[in-house]
Point group: C2
Chain length 162, copies 2
């Protein structure tokens, strides 16, 4: 098993529960020491592979019943900057830059009432984004990419303890 496999296995385990999975737990399941795990995690954080750790929040249950998708068009020039600025709009929870098609930016946002919707639309327009369409999201889930190191961890779990 090479280092890359260890990294994949770490990512796999972190995706199960990034808050409570301890380095020690990972060490036991992957078959290296806990400090090795720590070092590798730091490396991946430094390289930008791991960008941070977030709770997955059910916005509806948290009192933000309005979940919206704004389909937008941004000028080719400066699109990237726009996407970055859109992050600062209160309520925005996701941004995707799409390559082909004229609707090249998708903004996902949450709010409590129609005033929020109006405000977000206005602020996006002010930034220079043309809101082509907006849709209500019924449910959304971020699915961890569990297949990263599944087989690696799996194999190890199947091995008898020496």
């Amino acid at each position: 098993m090479n280092g890359n496999d260890v990294n994949k296995a770490i990512l796999y385990l972190l995706q199960q529960d990034s808050r409570r999975t301890t380095t020690q737990e990972m060490a036991e399941r992957i078959g290296v020491s806990a400090s090795a795990i720590r070092t590798r995690i730091e490396q991946m954080e430094d390289e930008g592979i791991i960008r941070g750790y977030y709770p997955s929040i059910d916005y509806d249950k948290a009192g933000l019943q309005l979940h919206l998708l704004f389909i937008c068009r941004a000028p080719e020039l400066g699109r990237e900057a726009l996407a970055t600025e859109a992050r600062t709009v209160r309520g925005v929870v996701g941004i995707r830059e799409v390559l082909n098609g004229s609707a090249n930016v998708q903004i996902e946002a949450v709010g409590t009432n129609t005033d929020d919707v109006a405000r977000i639309t206005d602020e996006l327009s002010d930034l220079g984004l043309t809101v082509v369409n907006s849709k209500l999201i019924k449910s959304a889930s971020v699915q961890p990419f569990d297949h990263f190191g599944e087989q690696i961890v799996g194999e190890l779990d199947d091995q008898p303890v020496p």
Copy 2:
């Protein structure tokens, strides 16, 4: 400050770094004891407000250079079930059910080569989803909804220590 405010402040702090922010740290910044924080986090987990904790991964840097958005149509009846089943397709990292419009499901997926793309398209079709369109995603970021309890934590930080 009521309990709901404490919860919002907790969510705010968890969104900064859900892996390393300790209950004690939160306790100090919010102004209650660490065990109170723990209890409230457990409550929110039980109620489903907090669904889990995930690392944000830069798929490109992690070696998954293909990031795709599949715009799909699902029959009204059984759409929810389809969305759930789509989670099991290898490479799928996000699912959104959209309310209005005929393209009522968006699937976000990652892969390494065109074979992956073909496979994912096939598997989605097999499930009963009609892939209306697919787009390349240039960049995507999940933006924590930082405005949850920002002002609450902020106010407290400004207060002089008694």
